[in-house]
């Protein structure tokens, strides 16, 4: 770890507009600082500035940026009204990490691309202009949507995938005031400048995440990974599905582990709405989803995996298939 100075903010104003790197839970930042992928010269500890409450906001909820992931998932309102969010958080990392990781920090979590995390390799995200060793390398964890010749990394988090399905928004404070960004627009695609993970500019800080009014429905977060727990997603599916009189009336979907941001393709949801659930319908929607997907070799399996995972989730959400034991 490079040497840095440490400062401890006691109110939000001290943390805004600072060149110092804010540290909250630190679970990702310190990990990367130890690898010297992140090398801030000053750390601003923002754990003592408040922003750690969940409060009603209109018909929805406002989750303070410093609410710990574990507290968010355990919050009774979140569990009752936004089970998708609770489930996505609980699918991520480990209990120990969720006890430290915060709402804002989790959104700023950086990629787990092995080349990004290892000095001495070419990585446009870590060192703009150096190239991308993941292309043509070991890339089973990498993106199948929105990748460019500059970067094929994925955003690795779970919580944000649920927030994308929930159409949450991110409240941001900077020296020029505050602004609100849809969660779906908060993270960005790599384009030509993959060193930028999201739309935050220097000195800006996330202050909260706002959840719209609860929408009910069946809410599912399905995460496929290489071991049963404590692993990043190969792919994940966040789904909110509502049925009315046998027809799908709502289908809000988002996908993790497949792009530089939580992947949201409104056309897939639209293809489902108004229809009766069936395997054929779900297969068509899944085909629509992966239509534009492109593998890098090592991650080609993600395309059929995502397709089939979506079908499984839609079946579960609409009660097709059931859970009975059948002897065939």
């Amino acid at each position: 770890m490079k040497f840095f100075d440490y400062a401890r903010a006691t109110e939000l104003s001290e943390a805004i507009g600072e060149f110092a790197k804010p540290i909250a839970g630190g679970t990702n930042l310190l990990d990367l600082m130890k690898l010297e992928v992140e090398t801030p010269s000053r750390l601003m500890d923002i754990n003592h500035i408040g922003l750690n409450e969940i409060s009603p906001h209109g018909d929805g909820l406002r989750i303070g940026a410093l609410v710990r992931n574990a507290d968010c998932a355990a919050d009774l309102r979140v569990r009752r009204d936004y089970p998708l969010l609770a489930r996505a958080i609980l699918a991520g990392a480990s209990p120990q990490l969720r006890n430290r990781a915060t709402t804002g920090g989790n959104l700023c979590q950086r990629t787990r691309c092995t080349y990004f995390m290892r000095l001495g390799t070419r990585c446009n995200k870590r060192e703009p202009g150096s190239g991308c060793d993941a292309i043509g390398g070991v890339n089973r964890d990498h993106a199948i949507f929105g990748a460019t010749e500059h970067c094929i990394a994925t955003y690795p988090g779970d919580m944000a995938v649920a927030l994308a399905a929930l159409d949450a928004s991110v409240q941001i404070e900077g020296i020029d005031g505050s602004r609100q960004v849809s969660l779906r627009d908060f993270h960005r695609l790599p384009d030509g400048d993959p060193h930028l993970d999201n739309v935050l500019t220097g000195g800006e800080i996330i202050t909260s995440v706002k959840l719209p009014a609860p929408v009910g429905g069946k809410q599912i977060y399905r995460k496929i990974r290489d071991r049963a727990s404590y692993a990043f997603a190969l792919v994940s599916v966040a789904a909110i599905v509502t049925l009315d009189q046998g027809r799908i009336t709502r289908a809000d979907l988002a996908f993790g582990g497949v792009a530089h941001k939580p992947w949201h393709d409104p056309a897939v949801g639209r293809a489902l709405i108004g229809n009766e659930p069936s395997d054929q319908l779900f297969s068509e929607a899944a085909d629509l989803l992966v239509n534009q997907a492109k593998g890098q070799g090592g991650n080609d399996f993600k395309i059929p995996l995502l397709r089939r995972s979506l079908i499984a989730v839609l079946r579960e959400a609409t009660g097709i298939g059931g859970n009975d034991v059948r002897n065939l």
């Binding site: 290489d226 071991r227 002897n327």
Partner: protein, 731 residues
């Protein structure tokens, strides 16, 4: 008297002693220290004024270091020195090497190899300075990084008997299959660590090692000093699994820096460095040919493996080891072919050979059974030879049939569906699988000191290590049993090279070898006690501090007459090693669920039945079996080292990328211990257990996956990425 073991000890003396300790599921004597965090591991010896060393590792796969910009780093705060000594290690030693491994860190042989050590006052200063050290290389132009398609050399003496091709041609049923297994890491939870402290010309090194007496020689030879100047202490070792068999670079670097700086130096490998620099299990390619005659008997077995290692490294994953003795079939071709590539050293990782060889052999047997219309258990049982094919020597003992039968009963094997895709639970296909377990048994030279104190308490001393295996418990139990001392009055001191040389921990030989040395020391003491009591040794019974014979009962402390009685027991492998085919055996049963949509596999339950001679401690033996099965599950489903074939770097060199099983991956596991006595194996009739329960476990999982969803997996681990393309229609 070197104690060569030439004649099987059939006395079963430990069945006639009366203290009631042998086999008892006693708690480990060190358990209180471990659960309270006060058992000191290597890095936790922190002598005053200890400096911190951090290794610098290569970022090229092969070449030479032509410049180290030391001055820039020496100017950094707290930095005390930069070392790139010719004596520093490029590779760790293989198990039992007993001499220096490949030295001189100015040449680079693999990506991530140690090339320098930076020492500073604090860990933070040293880690940053190590990263900041600028290195200039002259990189080799072409470097062999992919074993595929390379020329090979024999890695093991091939076995060629009869005519396998003809047997295959004439077979009523046969399989000819190609499998792959990916590389594995030991990934012991405690990273390699060394604290070196010199007093004059004498070095004390607190390290994390499995085989201390060899490690002393390896360290001394590396430093070019006499072994008598080196003392290694490893009282507690946070897991080994082969990775700590030989001396490693942390130890040599720490010793060199400590000498130079005139103060103690601690070097702890980062987790990434453990992956990058410590021995891996080679990836394998394996071709299995099995020829069955019309009567259901194996006429031929072919098992050819392709593995890799660095140039000149003597170790080749002995993939075919169990195939040499497990099943009949007089026409055989068994071979291990070794390619030379520039990846981190291959070496022993828990159950070298069988861990991946049995995994594949037992998967192939399942396919053969299906093809021939046999129940897989029946096929195995009818193909157990009466003597080892090609060697014409008997088996010392073999509980394989008992393991298969008792395991099947306890597991409920009769409920297995005869064909795949017959049980579906929602999204999940359910199925059951079976596989045999087999692992060679080894006896290794060992010595131990046993001292009966004047007050009747007992001390057992050896440099034998306990890497979680239960040495502290078992050695005390053997001594207490033999000398009639209650376990509370027995003290066991281990892991210090100043003590007599035990076998060390490796190859599952620690308990039976060092245990036999303890046994023999105790026999000598028993002889003396019998002599003092004036009775023949056969008549002597020792229990609870009393010597009982011919109707007399005398307190042992009276016989001791105020003086301690001390003996060193020794054992060495002898004729029994050659005269018998020795192995431990068992069987695995498991039930899996395979997600028809996502190809995730989850174990529902697993059972193992194992026979490994005398059970010395039922609790620690069971734990060893559980651990082995967990490793088998990891090998089946999650564990694989990744390498970038362009520059040889390991792409998942941490515990987030290399997936050892976590709690959620492991279902209820049941273990059946099958008591047996194997006299040719050791005078205590015990064999090895630590590795047995991996050997074949992954095949049981693969066979269950087939029974569930009808997919034969030939590439391990069976991740969703590998299984998904083969799944049947999920609807």
């Amino acid at each position: 008297m070197f104690g060569t073991y030439d004649i099987p000890d059939q006395r079963n003396l430990l069945d006639r002693t009366r203290q009631g300790l042998i086999g008892a599921p006693l708690e480990r004597p060190e358990s209180g220290l471990k659960v309270c965090g006060v058992a000191p591991y290597a890095a936790e010896h922190h002598p005053p004024n200890c400096a911190e060393g951090v290794l610098v590792t290569a970022t090229i796969p092969q070449g030479r270091v032509i410049a180290l910009h030391k001055d820039e780093v020496l100017a950094m705060p707290g930095v005390l020195g930069v070392f790139a000594d010719k004596r520093m290690l490029r590779r760790p030693a293989q198990g039992t090497a007993g001499k220096a491994p490949v030295q001189d860190v100015r040449a680079v042989e693999y990506h991530g190899q140690p090339i320098a050590l930076v020492v500073a006052e604090t860990f933070e200063q040293a880690t940053h300075a190590a990263k900041a050290l600028r290195v200039e290389y002259e990189a080799s132009a072409t470097v062999p990084l992919d074993p595929e398609g390379l020329e090979t050399e024999p890695g093991r003496k091939p076995v060629v008997l009869g005519d396998l091709d003809q047997a295959m041609a004439e077979a009523a049923h046969s399989v000819d299959l190609t499998f792959t297994t990916e590389g594995h890491a030991s990934a012991a939870m405690e990273p390699h660590a060394s604290v070196a402290e010199w007093q004059g010309d004498d070095l004390t090194l607190w390290g994390s090692f499995q085989m201390i007496s060899h490690n002393v020689k390896e360290l001394a030879d590396s430093l070019r000093i006499a072994p008598r100047h080196v003392r290694i202490r490893s009282a507690y070792v946070g897991g080994g699994f082969g990775s700590k068999l030989g001396i490693s670079h942390d130890a040599v670097a720490a010793a060199i820096a400590a000498r130079e700086l005139g103060r103690p130096v601690r070097v702890v490998l980062s987790r990434q460095q453990v992956f990058d620099t410590i021995t891996r299990r080679s990836e394998t390619g394996q071709r299995l040919r099995l020829a069955l005659d019309a009567g259901g008997y194996l006429a031929g077995i072919g098992h050819e493996a392709w593995v890799s290692n660095l140039p000149d490294e003597p170790f080749a994953e002995p993939v075919t080891q169990a195939t040499e003795f497990l099943y009949s079939g007089e026409n055989r071709k068994l071979a291990v072919n070794l390619a030379r590539i520039s990846r981190v050293t291959s070496g022993s990782v828990r159950a070298p050979g069988e861990a991946v060889g049995m995994q594949v052999l037992e998967a192939a047997m399942d396919e053969l059974a299906e093809k021939a219309g046999f129940d897989p258990i029946e096929l195995r049982k009818r193909n157990l030879p009466s003597s080892q094919p090609g060697k014409d020597r008997p088996y010392s003992s073999r509980m394989l049939i008992e393991a298969l039968d008792q395991g099947a009963r306890a597991f409920g094997w009769q409920d297995r569906k005869p064909r795949p895709c017959m049980t579906r639970e929602g999204e999940w296909w359910l199925g059951m699988g079976v596989a045999s377990a087999a692992r060679v048994n080894m006896l290794r030279p060992a010595a131990a000191r046993v001292r009966l104190e004047p007050d009747g308490s007992l001390r057992v001393q050896s440099d034998q290590t306990d890497i979680g295996t239960g040495s502290y418990a078992i050695l005390g139990q053997i001594a207490g049993e033999m000398l009639g001392v209650p376990i509370a009055r027995v003290t066991v001191e281990l892991g210090d090279s100043s003590l007599p040389s035990g076998a060390g921990s490796g190859g599952s030989f620690g308990a039976s070898s060092t245990g036999s040395a303890v046994f023999r020391a105790c026999e000598a003491i028993r002889d003396k006690l019998a002599h003092r009591l004036g009775v023949p040794i056969e008549a002597l019974e020792l229990r609870d501090g009393m010597a009982i014979a011919s109707g007399r009962e005398v307190a042992v402390i009276e016989l001791l007459r105020g003086e301690a009685m001390e003996e060193i027991g020794r054992i060495k492998p002898g004729k029994t090693d050659k005269d018998y085919a020795q192995a431990s055996y068992g069987a695995f049963f498991c039930e899996v669920a395979v997600n028809a949509f996502t190809a995730e596999t989850r174990l529902r339950r697993m059972l193992g039945a194992f026979g490994f001679g005398r059970v010395l401690n039922a609790r620690t033996a069971r734990s060893q079996c559980l651990g082995g099965m967990v490793w088998g599950i990891g090998s089946a489903l999650t564990e694989e080292l990744g390498f970038d074939l362009r520059d040889g770097q390991m792409t998942n060199h941490d515990l987030a990328g290399y997936h050892v099983p976590c709690h959620a991956d492991i279902p209820a596991l049941e273990v059946i211990l099958l008591e047996e006595r194997d006299a040719p194996a050791s005078p205590i009739q015990a064999k090895g257990v630590g590795e047995l329960a991996i050997c074949g476990a992954a095949a049981a999982v693969a066979n269950a996956i087939y029974n569930a969803c009808g997919v034969r997996m030939h590439d391990f681990p069976m991740t969703p990425a590998r299984l998904l393309p083969k799944l049947p229609d999920p609807f």
